[in-house]
């Protein structure tokens, strides 16, 4: 979103003026001046919202804009500090999700919240088992489950064990669960994040089906193309404030991005490499990771940032976990022209290949530990050559890392879990660099962190390769890849489907390669 997202203030003003002011139809759900404060931080500030029956309303905004907080308030998971909610003219005062459900509001969560050990049917009816005289009525539940699954086009059997079905089907089961009862408002929190082309299309059909039955849909998505196709109304949040609600399809994707960001973005991404990339550093031929990756070959050059794009489940993470010995894999790999094969992450680290995981809290950092032990965990032998640990060396290392990567900490003895997401990510980057790698693989460099930290991390990544290293960036954020990388490879279903570089490094090209089908118009709307 670098150069082309430069804001013309007048355009933003003009857009703001086009916001919807009043409705002629009585809203089914009305939120008035919702405010949420956590301590001193205000995450939502006087947001008002009208939802009409049979309306698809998209809520868009950057990370931290307050979308999820707003949705959690509306569905009873979070209590607002101030403000009121009306449902069909009756004021609600719910404190619990069950009360919101009774009032007719359902939330489809972003995370999968299903019991893996139970069947699809048991999950659908969890907490509301149908039965007579204390006995579960399995036959009736199975019939209803089958009906509901068929309705949303989910092919799994009601008696399948949830742990054994694919992620996308789990998401559909979760949607089926939310739609089991009749609701007046259904909230979808980024439902398509884990779905691929065909499933996204089916979900959109489900949503249009809800609309045709007069049910209102609130839809949070980062995919502006979807928003443009589906939404009757687009509501924009920024920094916890309501920017406005706009009629759908009058906004281009660029307009939406402008409203979401609302400020100069030119400096978000660093300058690209001025000189062409050097000699090959890492060359991978015919990589296979059983169950995930088939026959992948690529070459990484010195001084280059190579992007890996694709949908979740395309096998990008698994490819690199396989290459560095975190999971079983076959490949012929050459590092600096010498053939190598890594049996363990240790061997890869020692050879100079470092991997930064996408899951910083689960796999990257020991949240209960202090900063220094986290920083040095993968480089203990390098920092402490002798028999025992030297505190002074650790202290010097963390001091240097905090300064170099601008990690904002209250004290050096803070625990990693006390840092903000952005600072955790910078600590993790510092940790990955402790082994002094020549190849750095970064999986989702900026997931869930704010824009200021994002810009810093992009600059650090560019600095790594300017120093003569080579870097691979895996990301689900296409704009990020376009902004940061010199060249992008696109994966789908475990294979590389193409390369986007130079003029072809566009979202449309990447999306095309990642899905191998133009995301077709469902309602109306045109692609940009």
């Amino acid at each position: 979103m670098s150069a082309h997202a430069r804001i013309e203030e007048s355009r933003v003003d003009a857009l703001a003026a086009s916001a919807i002011v009043a409705n002629s139809v009585e809203p089914v759900l009305r939120a008035e001046n919702l405010t949420k404060q956590y301590g001193l931080a205000t995450v939502l500030s006087e947001v008002s919202l009208d939802v009409l029956p049979g309306e698809i309303q998209a809520i868009i905004g950057e990370n931290g804009a307050g979308k999820s907080t707003l949705m959690r308030i509306l569905s009873g998971y979070v209590e607002p500090t101030e403000g009121a909610i009306w449902m069909e003219g009756r004021q609600l005062s719910f404190l619990r999700p069950s009360e919101a459900q009774e009032a007719g509001i359902a939330l489809v969560h972003q995370e999968i919240l299903l019991a893996d050990a139970l069947t699809v049917m048991e999950n659908l009816f969890l907490g509301r088992t149908l039965g007579r005289w204390g006995l579960a009525d399995d036959r009736r539940m199975r019939r209803l489950a089958a009906e509901k699954l068929a309705e949303i086009g989910c092919a799994v059997s009601p008696s399948a064990i949830v742990g054994a079905i694919p992620l996308a089907d789990k998401q559909l089961v979760q949607i089926a669960r939310a739609l089991l009862d009749e609701h007046k408002v259904v909230i979808f929190d980024e439902p398509t994040a884990v779905l691929t082309g065909e499933e996204v299309r089916r979900l959109q059909e489900v949503i249009l089906g809800l609309k045709s039955r007069g049910i209102a849909v609130l839809y949070i998505s980062h995919r502006l193309d979807e928003v443009q196709q589906l939404a009757d109304k687009v509501t924009v949040l920024r920094d916890g404030k309501l920017i406005g609600s706009y009629p759908g399809r009058t906004l281009s994707q660029m307009d939406m991005a402008r409203l979401m960001v609302g400020r100069e973005l030119a400096a978000l991404y660093p300058e690209k490499a001025s000189k062409p990339s050097g000699e090959p550093v890492l060359s991978v031929r015919n990589a296979h990771v059983p169950g995930y990756v088939e026959d992948v070959s690529f070459t990484l050059r010195k001084g280059e940032i190579l992007g890996f794009a694709g949908m979740i489940g395309a096998g990008r993470t698994e490819l690199f976990e396989g290459l560095i010995g975190l999971r079983p894999a076959r490949a012929s790999v050459q590092l600096d022209g010498k053939p190598i094969h890594f049996q363990s992450p240790r061997a890869a680290l020692d050879a100079g290949i470092s991997y930064l995981t996408e899951d910083r809290k689960g796999k990257g950092l020991l949240l209960q530990e202090r900063l220094a032990p986290n920083l040095t965990l993968s480089a203990l032998a390098r920092i402490h050559p002798g028999l025992y640990l030297r505190r002074s060396r650790e202290a010097a290392a963390i001091k240097e890392a905090v300064a170099k990567y601008d990690i904002r900490v209250k004290s050096y003895s803070a625990r990693a879990g006390e840092l903000s997401g952005g600072n955790q990510q910078k600590l993790l980057l510092a940790k990955v660099m402790m082994t002094n790698p020549s190849v750095v693989i970064i999986d989702e460099p900026t997931r869930g962190i704010d824009i200021a930290n994002k810009a810093q991390i992009y600059a650090f990544i560019r600095a790594l390769v300017t120093e003569g290293r080579a870097c691979i960036v895996i990301s689900s954020d296409m704009q990020e890849l376009i902004g940061v990388c010199d060249r992008i490879l696109v994966m789908r279903e475990g294979r590389i489907r193409g390369e986007a570089s130079g003029d072809k490094m566009t979202e449309h090209e990447i999306a095309f390669l990642a899905t191998s089908e133009v995301v077709g118009p469902i309602g109306a709307g045109d692609l940009m």
């Binding site: 400020r263 100069e264 973005l265 030119a266 400096a267 978000l268 975190l326 363990s344 992450p345 240790r346 890869a348 680290l349 991997y355 995981t357 899951d359 689960g362 796999k363 990257g364 950092l365 020991l366 949240l367 209960q368 530990e369 032990p373 965990l377 993968s378 203990l380 032998a381 402490h384 028999l387 025992y388 640990l389 202290a395 001091k399 905090v402 904002r408 900490v409 209250k410 004290s411 050096y412 003895s413 940790k431 082994t435 824009i451 200021a452 810009a455 810093q456």
Partner: protein, 330 residues
Amino acid sequence: MTLLADLSPVRRIREFNLTWSDVGPFLALVALLVIGFAINPEFLSTTNLANVITRSAFTAIIGVGATFVISSGGLDLSVGSMAAFITGVMIMFMNRLAPDLVGWAIPAGMAMAVLVGLFCGLGNGLIVTVGRIEPFIATLGTMGIFRALITYLSDGGSIPIDRSLRDLYRPVYFGTVAGMPIPILISLVVAAAGAFLLYKTKYGRECSAVGANEDVARYSGISVVRTRTVAYVIQGVCVAIAAICYVPRLGAATPTTGLLWELQVITAVVIGGTALRGGKGHIWGTIAGAVILELIANLMVISDLVSEYLVAAVQGTIIIIAMLIQRFSK
């Protein structure tokens, strides 16, 4: 674009912020001594304390090993029957050598004990790590195996130490060095070595990391299999050291030797502040925990407040309270 600084500058590099799990066991120990003195001044006499702490030495020594296993995210239920098995093998070995070697049979027996302990620990470790079996189940299995082996070796009776060795071996439990009972000295040495290993070496750091979050450790290039297996080997060696000290006190290995020690040990580790879910281990806390357990038993015997038949109930209550404190002090 402006990058706003939202935090104050970094403060000094070293800070001591102690938590309840760091100091709690020692505070409890002091409180117990004060209560004991109030009930019966005889409680604080050197003789009584030396007796009590000597008795706690086995729990303490095995507890040091258990601190490694538990902080690496494992558990070992087999320590009690492993101690009995090692004692049995050791005594049989010494008795066999005694006619030829006389006194030298004892160090040979001790070396044998350490070797057997090492292999028992290695077996436990490999079953858990390479075999990928839950530590609870794996060591429940070996617990039964070791117990059956000692019953078999002793033919259901007892394996007494040879007469010619009894007096020579006696000082290992009953002797003193500079007034300090030898088992106490040994447990202090074991604890100091354990603390050095756990807090000051790369292995110790890796052990805690594996216990705190196996995935983070794996992604940081640490071999989880090696680290956990080594923890079980350390546990096995600690059990052997405890068994070596224990031989003179009983004079024989029997099928009931070391019965329920695993519960004593796990209790000592947990009230010492080490979390059962893994992560940070507290070696000195474990020592304090072992002493606390014996002090309570002693207090119940020398006072008439509660019947000494309820010792196990009181210890059970303490482990539950310790867990509750760990949960709610978070």
